[in-house]
Subunit: 218 residues, 2 copies
């Protein structure tokens, strides 16, 4: 099996290539793993030796098929544990990330598959992120950032792009949680902030920064 650290690199590379759909750079990995570029280079060599990534010096990396499978499996575990923490243990959606970050490295296929069944084979985690099934398949819903919505457009909040406790608590306070219906009432030219109608009633102004991190399905 792969070490705790290797798994974290694979996960980081997966998330980064998911966002940018191109080769992932050394610096980008260093940033999300809280390490230095030199450390990343060392690890990339190791992951390449293990055939988990395609790596050409100075050219960035992509995951191999094996690497992708490994990464998806970690993500599956992370998201299932998050569901467990929220649905069964009563944690709030802003409290589960760090714990799931540890639990995702527990190594037992039997455990994960049984957990999946115990939870009723959920399709998404508490933040709306889709959960891969035991074969590694999962659907990417096409979600739109609120910051990309046009005036007059309406949608249902179905995900977030930022999982920090601070951000999630803020959404909670604004009642902008999963399943909430929002409609863009007005786009403010000055600073890009957006006025929303929430559940057809309340009017609410959110900053562009917040809008970029809320995802809706139309």
């Amino acid at each position: 099996m792969h070490s705790f650290t290797e798994e974290n690199y694979l996960k980081a590379i997966y998330h980064l290539s998911d966002q940018n759909s191109t080769e992932v750079t050394t610096n980008a990995i260093a940033e999300v793993t809280n390490t230095k570029a030199a450390s990343v280079t060392d690890m990339l060599k190791k992951l390449a030796d293990k055939k988990l990534i395609n790596y050409i010096k100075y050219q960035g990396v992509t995951l191999t098929e094996i690497g992708t499978k490994a990464a998806v499996n970690i993500i599956r575990k992370h998201r299932l544990w998050e569901v467990f923490l929220v649905e069964k243990l009563g944690f709030k959606w802003d409290e589960v990330h760090d714990i799931a970050e540890e639990l995702e490295h527990i190594n037992s296929t039997a455990l994960v598959d049984r957990l999946d069944d115990f939870l009723g084979n959920p399709a998404a985690d508490p933040h709306g992120d889709p959960i891969p099934d035991r074969t590694g398949n999962f659907l990417h819903k096409k979600l739109l950032k609120v910051s990309e919505m046009k005036q007059g457009q309406a949608g249902t909040i179905s995900g977030v792009n930022e999982h920090s406790s601070v951000f999630l608590k803020h959404l909670e306070k604004l009642r902008l949680t999963l399943g909430t219906k929002v409609k863009v009432t007005e786009l403010i030219e000055f600073d890009g902030s957006i006025i929303l109608a929430v559940d057809g009633i309340k009017e609410l102004t959110i900053s562009r920064e917040v809008a970029k991190n809320i995802l809706v399905i139309l």
Copy 2:
């Protein structure tokens, strides 16, 4: 916090001093942790620096109060996870040890306490071992090895001294599981094996080795 490895040493020392109620030796620790005596010595110095053990060169070790608390907490986590795996996920009692061995190192008091509540604050794990409460207190029931029972004596199986899958599967096959009532019908002088009446009906012969690892309450 303590590293994964440090935690395993603390747990090992705890279990060993629980059995022998005297200073724990370097070699004994090396054996249960699957390392060499030299490695143990290194780690003992480190644990002593951290005030987790009382260590005098060549004299063996005992846990300090802090060390004991840390060890008991790991044991609490291990046993709660075992209950979860059996009660909620449907694992058998012989399948959970290795998984719990990983889960016990997950670091979150909130998680453990919520898990405890979710499971209904169980008093014992699937092998009958008592579970410490959140303050670290737990009752040691006075259990007797079947090998120490006298002829004619009866009791209820309430624990085991050996947690290997092989042994537990064997007990399962013999239907000598927790809660089963047994009575010593005959002690065989030749090899120390014992004939039991099980639930007042079936007669069963078990070896001395097996008898040593089954615990009853009278």
